[in-house]
Homo-oligomer: 119 residues x 2
């Protein structure tokens, strides 16, 4: 019934940036969780201002493994977002402080479908 | 430091199936969590036996919003997996019993990179 969490996207084609990550921990506790959450929220706000941004979906389990997929009209929009200055600075900080491991994949969405249970 | 959760993938191109979903709940509790976990594990085992399967990454937060990305060599492998009989039956069951809402996107991964903190 809930749309919460889902991006509302146009019909394909469009692009997806699939970002898988594991947060770093100290003695089993995820590092800097408050600072991370604040930065993540800020990045979503910034991304939403970028030309070509279509939406984002993000989730992370209690062990610190997460997947964020952002959606964009085209490759040029992804490159422009990568170069956005505040995003680049936050990304550099995050690489050093927040993640043990991340993988990023850029993909062209060719087809899509879904189903929502009627309320 | 941990590879846990990450798919080990070849260099692109390959395909990604991005499955975003919200688990159904009753009075705020996620429905049939044990049955779902068992079926999800079985689906990963089955998928791993399919030709063209490359790997899978999956995570879900405490509110029941999850993203699973499975990776495949090509579109034909995805179609064959969709038609696999036990998978099709489980999918049909899941549509009725486990999910309030899901969205599935099929995408061609064009480039990829990552970083792992040295141990």
């Amino acid at each position: 019934m809930s749309d919460s969490g889902f991006a509302r996207l146009p019909a394909p084609p469009y692009y997806a940036v699939i970002f898988s990550s594991r947060r770093s921990t100290t003695d089993g506790v995820i590092d800097d969780d408050a600072g991370y959450a604040q930065a993540a929220q800020r990045m979503v706000e910034l991304a939403a201002q970028q030309p070509g941004f279509l939406g984002v979906e993000s989730t992370r389990d209690a062990d610190g493994f997460g997947i964020t997929v952002s959606y964009w009209t085209d490759e040029a929009a992804i490159v422009a977002w990568k170069r956005q200055a505040e995003h680049a600075a936050t990304r550099a900080y995050g690489r050093e402080h927040w993640y043990d491991h991340y993988e990023l994949r850029v993909a062209k969405v060719e087809r899509a479908y879904g189903k929502k249970t009627p309320a």
